[in-house]
């Protein structure tokens, strides 16, 4: 039983913190949200230079293979600063998917480029039906004369507008039952249409429609990918929890600082017991979220699938409820400053809101967990 980070994980955190300090300053997230891309290519190069994009690249491909705990350490720091570069999308989800499911050629083709920041890949899986489940796919792939033909829709794919590669899941109806398959898809292929937009947390995403998209047979990654894809989705969820924990911790700190400074009725409002107790409750949510974020990552290292699913759902429920409570109370305790978009709280509040909705909302995970009782 060990809750500490290794020296190597500590160094990763330091690297991430250096990057954030150098690149983000006080208002980096907001500045980036106002640009057309929604993120900074220069910062992305800096991620690569510091080796952070190789975090989930296997050692055989020159990566760090830092695993779920290393990813937690980095994502926590990125969450503190509300980093908007496609780290979770490309350097965690897509990189893991390629490393686990790509052919030797696909791995050689993409992993070095992803690690170098020369390409961005995203996993296009979610179809709006609830949770991060590998088998929840309605997009269909049909074999047709040595090619695959895909039809379907993908919902709210983060960072898809920036992607050089889409990893698309689809269902293949085989004699042994439906299988989930994964395909490498160039975003500019005929039959692929992106509807890009800004998300509530100021990031970029797109809905993707696939209409008679024809792919060569080599585009298929792996065979029956269910278990591996589930492991990738689980790591993504754990990483989202880590990001969210970072945002929660910073927002808690901001709220403590604000209430110590803000004077009403002649005293700092931190002196009011009702607000003190609220902050004690916020801190309690935060500590529970921290524990469950650690549990989520730890389960991605070692858990068997059923126990892992229950633990991840439990983690998402606790982190999601912390996001709701801490976010709302931080706004409330900031008063007018909390609801004015130009102050910092607003950005954290929206990031926490997005985290609640992504990878299955709180109610979805609670229901899934209840099914395991």
């Amino acid at each position: 039983m060990d809750f500490s980070f290794s020296d190597e994980q500590g160094m990763l955190m330091d690297a991430a913190r250096r990057l954030v300090t150098d690149q983000y300053g006080r208002d980096g997230a907001r500045q980036r949200a106002a640009t057309a891309d929604g993120y900074s290519r220069a910062t992305w190069s800096e991620f690569a230079r510091l080796g952070l994009l190789a975090l989930n690249v296997p050692e055989e491909h020159g990566g760090l293979d830092a695993g779920p705990i290393g990813t937690l350490a980095v994502c926590f720091v990125l969450g503190e600063a509300l980093v908007v570069e496609p780290f979770l999308s490309s350097a965690v989800l897509a990189t893991l998917a390629i490393a686990r499911l790509g052919s030797p050629e696909q791995r050689l083709q993409w992993l070095p480029r992803l690690a170098a920041g020369e390409a961005i890949a995203v996993l296009a899986h979610e179809e709006g039906d609830g949770g991060p489940v590998a088998t929840a796919v309605r997009t269909v792939a049909v074999a047709d004369g040595g090619e695959w033909v895909l039809d379907g829709c993908k919902s709210v794919v983060y960072h898809a507008p920036a992607a050089d590669l889409l990893l698309v899941t689809a269902r293949i109806d085989a004699p042994t039952g439906a299988q989930t398959a994964l395909f490498a898809v160039p975003p500019d292929a005929a039959g692929v249409a992106l509807q890009p937009y800004v998300t509530v947390d100021g990031q970029r995403a797109a809905d993707i429609s696939l209409h008679q998209l024809r792919l060569p047979s080599s585009a298929r990654m792996g065979a029956e990918v269910g278990a591996d894809l589930q492991a990738v989705l689980d790591q993504g969820l754990a990483a989202l929890c880590a990001e969210t924990l970072g945002a929660l911790e910073r927002l808690m700190r901001m709220t403590l600082d604000y209430t110590r400074e803000r004077v009403q009725f002649g005293v700092p409002i931190a002196r009011f017991q009702a607000l003190q107790h609220r902050m004690a409750e916020m801190a309690t949510h935060l500590e529970f979220a921290r524990s469950m974020t650690y549990l989520a990552a730890s389960q991605c290292v070692a858990g068997e699938p059923a126990g892992r699913a229950a633990a991840l759902s439990a983690a998402k429920v606790i982190v999601g409820q912390a996001a709701r409570f801490v976010g709302q109370q931080a706004v409330q305790l900031h008063g007018g400053m909390g609801v004015a978009d130009e102050y910092g709280v607003s950005h954290y509040f929206k990031r926490l809101l997005a985290a609640e909705c992504r990878f299955g909302a709180t109610a979805w995970h609670l229901t899934r967990y209840a099914g395991t009782l």
């Binding site: 979610e126 609830g130 004077v263 009725f265 706004v331 008063g335 978009d341 109610a363």
Partner: protein, 398 residues
């Protein structure tokens, strides 16, 4: 005890309904029933429509152009308007300044300003809060110094709602710096086109520029635009705050939102099932619907008994807290109804009937903005913490 409306009350309700059917513009109605906020032009146009019908201020006494409605019929009027999808009537002139002028204004002020509030010609805003005096009004710092027939006003107001559209502001200013905090305040009416006023709109969480910072730099205000006595402004402000609270519960708006929630939850599916068929979700809707009923009955009970009160009660604070909590909770459930579709986000266009341009189902388009916007309800107009202080003091000191 009889919790049914009288036949005459129901007649009035039917009259309101007929009027709404005939006169509420379809574009405004459509926008509001979809959960989107009223635009500035919706608000202006609706006040003109009401005025033309003689209903510019149904609550005002007849001698000032109102209908002198009972509180119960006022409630019915607001409920019917809100649930039908009518825009709000701006409270600043009608509910806040109006009663102050009727009580404390001189005849000149009454004759000039009241008809223009009624017709919608004057858009009023409120100059109370300051950067250092949000909940703590008594500590306000904006100064007014007498210079002949004018006050010269300097200072800054904050969290001013919709003042960027306003023609006039009623404003608390400090006219005696030496007096105790609640003394030495005067109540001025300020023409927003006066030289020396600058207005900076601030966006709320949802991106709408709904509040403003306002600076006064040597703004000259004629003494004739002071309401009542110099240094007695606190008295008028307190009177005003009490009148502000008549429809503080927001039952009508909450009922409209609840109807919207039930529509969206019947239409939007997650996991192949309409959300309203999910037993957990349905129970949460039921809980809120029940609380809303309790809020409405409590509101009616409190306004019915207002006349017979012998001492101040915490009624308004109770209604404000629970009303804001219920509206916020409905907005949360609406957000949860649509799951991942809450993520695409665009600021709302200012005018009816347009929804924000986003992919995905139309019913999802405004829900995130709505949730974000309504966080203000528990903060503005006296935060819920302040309201609880008020309740506790009334309970414990009685």
């Amino acid at each position: 005890m009889d919790l049914n409306y009288s036949a005459a009350d129901l007649q009035w309700r039917d009259e309101v309904r007929r009027f709404l059917d005939a006169s509420l513009p379809a574009d405004t109605r459509g926008r509001l029933l979809e959960g989107l906020p009223a635009g500035v032009e919706d608000i202006r146009r609706w006040q003109r429509t009401l005025y033309a019908h003689g209903w510019g201020a149904v609550a005002w006494p007849e001698r000032f152009g109102g209908l002198g409605l009972s509180k119960v019929r006022q409630h019915l009027f607001e409920l019917e308007c809100a649930t039908a999808g009518a825009p709000p009537q701006l409270p600043f002139g009608l509910k806040m300044l109006g009663p102050v002028l009727m009580q404390f204004g001189n005849p000149t002020q009454q004759q000039y300003f009241l008809p223009r509030i009624l017709s919608g010609e004057h858009w009023w805003c409120q100059g109370y809060s300051e950067p250092g005096a949000g909940s703590d009004l008594a500590s306000l710092k904006t100064r007014a110094v007498l210079d002949g027939e004018h006050y010269v006003v300097n200072g800054q107001k904050a969290w001013n709602t919709l003042g960027q559209h306003a023609d006039w502001m009623f404003c608390l200013v400090r006219t005696d710096a030496a007096a105790k905090p609640q003394r030495g305040i005067s109540f001025l009416l300020i023409d927003m086109r006066s030289p020396g006023i600058s207005v900076r709109p601030t966006k709320l969480l949802d991106g709408t520029p709904e509040v403003n910072e306002i600076w006064f730099e040597n703004v000259r205000v004629p003494v004739a635009q002071r309401v009542g006595e110099e240094n007695q402004g606190w008295t008028y402000a307190k009177f005003l705050l009490e009148h502000e609270r008549t429809s503080i519960a927001g039952v009508g708006v909450a009922r409209r939102a609840m109807a919207h929630l039930r529509r969206v939850a019947a239409v939007h599916s997650q996991g192949g099932r309409a959300m309203i068929e999910d037993p957990l979700f349905r129970a949460r809707v039921a809980q809120l619907d029940i609380e809303l009923t309790a809020l409405e009955i409590t509101n009616l009970r409190m306004i019915s008994q207002e006349a017979s009160k012998t001492a101040p009660t915490p009624d308004a604070s109770i209604l404000k807290i629970r009303g804001s909590q219920i509206q916020q909770a409905i907005s949360e459930l609406l957000l949860e109804t649509i799951g991942i579709r809450a993520l695409p986000f665009a600021e709302l266009p200012a005018q009816a009937p347009a929804s924000p341009a986003l992919p995905g189902p139309v019913h999802a388009a405004g829900l995130t903005a709505n949730y974000l916007n309504l966080r203000k309800l528990s903060i503005f107009g006296g935060s819920n913490e302040i309201q609880k202080n008020i309740i506790a003091h009334m309970l414990l000191d009685s």
